[in-house]
Amino acid sequence: MSEITAKAATILKQYMSPILTDPIMEAAVLRSGVDPDNIRMGDGSRLVRVLKQSCKLFVRNSRDYAKCCKDLDVLLTEAMAGSSVDSTVVTIKEERDIVVARATGRDMCEEIGFPISVRIGVATVISELARNIHQYAKTGNIVLSLMKGERGGIEVFAVDDGPGIPFIEEVLSGRYKSKTGLGQGLLVVKKMMDEFEVSSALGEGTKIRVRKYLDARR
């Protein structure tokens, strides 16, 4: 068991029968799809969220439940502060990877403290970028990084070696007429994020880097 799961189990033991904590932990690990030996960005908040749901029935009373949730949140914040890794790569190979990418990004946004509306917006942005990779370049990577310095936020970097977008100017000015979709994807991405950078040329693949800052909430 990893450090975070061991610590979470210790917290649970204070609020419920110790016989129950292990099965609840195991079930939460399974349900959240987190690998306890390899906790990645976004995993912590997902695990804690599932744990909170599953221990609700077993904690003695609602006051204890509130305390238990608070302890788990503190644990999460500490784990976050101590983690040196602050980015994760989701490789887009098949359609379902799009869902993985946006769910991971959404959880990372939660960890760093974005309000729910921004989390959904960023998840949508990731979905657009990942789908473009899947549709037009077949494979590529979505790199998600938390920016923790002076200006906190999240960066989404989408890279592929596909055909590139020679008509990128048209796309971004809204003049491009898409044959495959609404032709809205990249416009949405640009609108939603605070910073937008793209480099793409025929045959050179596409790199799109976007950022959303905590202090620029809309």
Partner: protein, 134 residues
């Protein structure tokens, strides 16, 4: 597993109800479009309700898929109502200019049913009179 999975379509009087509870893939969208057209054809439904309470995001792809389903249904004389969209997702949709235009939305399933009922007053045989002029 993915290949055999289908989104169920429930018929309630003159209305078809679809509740999307998972991330939509190309395969699912294609299947759903086909199933809905077949059900409309088979059942003489006059309304289609798509419950979106299970959506995690509505990106341009999903929006287009749902709009397409609405358009195909309209061509077949069936009005589509979307319901139970998470408020935060609704805000994001509007903020990003992604709202599926031309499709009615309702707060929840009851409101969607009420709306469709108000539009299609049942005729003597229990079928809709309005169907022909949609």
């Amino acid at each position: 597993m993915l290949d055999v999975f289908k989104i169920p379509i429930i018929k309630l009087y003159d209305t078809l109800i679809v509740s999307i509870q998972m991330a939509l893939t190309d395969q699912l969208v294609r299947q759903l479009k086909q199933d809905i057209t077949m059900e409309i054809d088979r059942t003489d439904a006059t309304g289609l309700i798509i419950d979106l309470s299970g959506m995690d995001v509505m990106d341009s792809y999903i929006t287009k898929a749902i709009r397409d389903i609405g358009l195909v249904s309209r061509l077949m004389g069936v009005e589509t109502v979307l319901c139970s969209l998470d408020p935060m997702i609704a805000i994001t949709l509007v903020e990003m200019d992604l709202s599926p235009e031309g499709i009615t939305t309702a707060l929840n399933l009851e409101a969607a049913l009420d709306y469709l009922r108000s539009k299609h007053v049942p005729g003597p045989e229990g079928t809709s009179q309005n169907k022909a002029n949609v």
